[in-house]
């Protein structure tokens, strides 16, 4: 395929009258730069360059780290000052910082795709790489890896600080499974939530709109549930509470709003399913829509 350069010979035969036109019979042009067959790796390198070369990445991730570490430390100090965790896991305290910090990951996810539409860059990108699915895949992978690594490092740091800080304050010693869930588990969840935002950004193609939708998706179920006091809506209210994103995040810390609902690793499978569906939708729309 890479040697496809001169498909021209059939052209003059198709339109011989051109021979008389200015410009005359053309020799065609062959570039001295070697032609390589591009693949996903090229797109990944390109997306990595893109994501590291804009300031919004540094800002959102910087604020994310600041929030998670800052709020985590504050919570740690508050608890260690006042005394007693009464047998709770010390890792639970990491939840609060992440609850706020996740907004940054959502924002970065949306910006990764939607900002290209906002600036018109997407047309340049899609001209340089007409296979649109590859661009979406590269964006998703690069963003997911960055979000996962940054979240994992930050959350693990905060968890270790908490564990050492609260050792003598009546906290339980977390098991290996609890550690895994509170670091790797929650990081996967947050990264997938960010990936979902990226896909929503690709579907909505408008930064502010997509960020609003994602923040609404995070907060709305809780807020709506607060106003559902009628007994006939009790079940709906309960479901909204249990399956709201903050509540699902709490599951990773065994810190839920109710006793039923998702447990263990369930939230991860739920968000994985939702993200996969969003990916399919974003892919289909990307293929069919005009850029």
């Amino acid at each position: 395929m890479s040697t496809h350069q001169p498909p021209m010979p059939q052209a003059p035969a198709a339109a011989p009258e051109w021979q008389a036109a200015p410009g005359g019979p053309y020799p065609g042009y062959n570039s001295p730069i070697p032609v390589v067959r591009t693949h996903l790796g090229h797109a990944l390198a390109s997306e990595w360059t893109k994501i590291r070369s804009v300031r919004s990445t540094m800002w959102t991730l910087g604020v994310f780290i600041l929030l998670v570490v800052g709020i985590g430390l504050l919570a740690g100090f508050a608890v260690s000052g006042s005394g007693d965790l009464s047998g709770q896991s010390p890792l639970t305290l990491g939840f609060f910082g992440l609850l706020i910090g996740m907004m940054c990951i959502i924002t970065l996810g949306v910006l990764t795709t939607a900002s290209e539409y906002g600036t018109g860059m997407i047309r340049t990108t899609m001209t340089a790489c007409p296979s649109r699915g590859r661009v979406l895949a590269a964006k998703s992978i690069v963003f997911f890896v960055i979000a996962f690594v940054v979240t994992l490092v930050t959350v693990s740091f905060v968890a270790m600080v908490h564990a050492s800080m609260l050792k003598g304050h009546g906290a339980s010693t977390p098991s290996g499974g609890e550690w895994l869930k509170a670091t790797v588990g929650i990081s996967l969840y947050i990264a997938l939530l960010g990936l979902l935002s990226l896909l929503v950004g690709s579907i909505i193609r408008h930064s502010a709109g997509a960020i609003t939708i994602m923040i609404g998706a995070v907060l709305a179920p809780l807020v709506i549930a607060l106003f559902m006091n009628a007994s006939s809506l009790e079940k709906v209210q309960k479901a909204l509470l249990e399956y709201s994103i903050p509540s699902q995040m709490g599951v990773f810390y065994d810190n839920t709003l109710s006793s039923s609902g998702p447990t263990g690793w369930d939230p991860l499978w739920i968000i994985l399913g939702v993200t996969a569906a969003a990916y399919a939708g974003a892919y289909a729309l990307l293929q069919s829509r005009d850029v």
Binding site: G23, P32, I33, V35, S53
Partner: protein, 414 residues
Amino acid sequence: MIEAVGLTKRYGDKTAVYNLSFQVRPGAVTGFLGPNGSGKSTTMRMILGLDNPTSGTVTIGGYPYRKLPNAPRQVGALLDAKAVHGGRAARNHLLSLAQLSGIPARRVDEVLGVVGLQEVARKRSKGFSLGMGQRLGIAAALLGDPQVLLFDEPVNGLDPEGILWVRNLMKALAAEGRTVFVSSHLMSEMALTADHLIVIGRGQLLADMSVTDFISANSADFARVRTPDTEPQLREKLSSALTEAGGHVLPEQDGALRVTGLPLPRISDLAYEAGVRLWELSPHQASLEEAYMRMTQGAVDYRSTIDQKASLQQQPPPGAQPPMPVPGQGQPGWYAPPPPQQGGQPFAMPTPPSGPYGGAPAGAYGAPGAGAPNPYAAPQGQPPVAAPPVPAAEPSQPAPAAPAADLTKSEDAR
């Protein structure tokens, strides 16, 4: 080579491009002309596979763009100078595109040198002027050293040095055997750059011909002859003498005569023989810009009008003459010379359309029967003098009606 067949694009009930068929061949600069909103950019986007045509196809080297192997190495495009993320440095922007296309990173510095942006390579493109943005866009188009290049309005915002550079760049690229397709709304620019022209209006093909054909078809040479204003009978005398000798005479607004079909020395001789003194005898050429405007006149979507300032205007004192409009402002036909034939086509194709792309324009705009390339030199039967002699007298002129509308308005306001 770019080939479009029956290309149509509708956005809702608005048809942006309708049944467009053309070919752009290698080794020449092909100009793509049309008024604002005539579908140039839409066509470009369809060529690049960004927009899907409603019907019809467009291929590059036989492939639709999205199926083209190594597309960025075969096709380079400047669509919109501002189609970059403003927060990214110029070099990083190009680097990401190079990586996406599998082009070595040192090529980035090469093209930055070509367009002259080395100094600002590490600056964010947000702060770039329009001209610098154009240069960055051109750099992106050249990045893959492709054999097909598309430029959408490349000289927008460039300084004179930049315009000259782009002009020479296009010619150099075409001379290397590449296909160069350049859109513009400036005929004058294309006349200097392009070898071949594709003109569209309201999304339909108006003309597809070489620039030389376009010039011979549309730039009618004529002589302006002025006889002494004080003796109108001399003008009549000369007029009949010139017509007798086979010339074709059109009176102009200011009393001069526009003569075609006779060389200047012959006009002078005839005047001498008839005993007519001449105040002026000068050669003229209708510009390509005029010909282009005449061609696209009916296809202009966005037309400027006179600024009436209706609600702000004072009631003029009774008997006061309304101010004459500035010539050229808001009058649709001010620029166009009179149509060559009464009721005929405003613009004549030089030859009957033939070949793979000749079919479309025949109906409304082309004149398949008009064998004469020069509408002034060869009047066909009917006397074209019957045509409105000057554009200002055209019935479509809105100027006389305007002050009246003004009066009623201010009358109502009182």
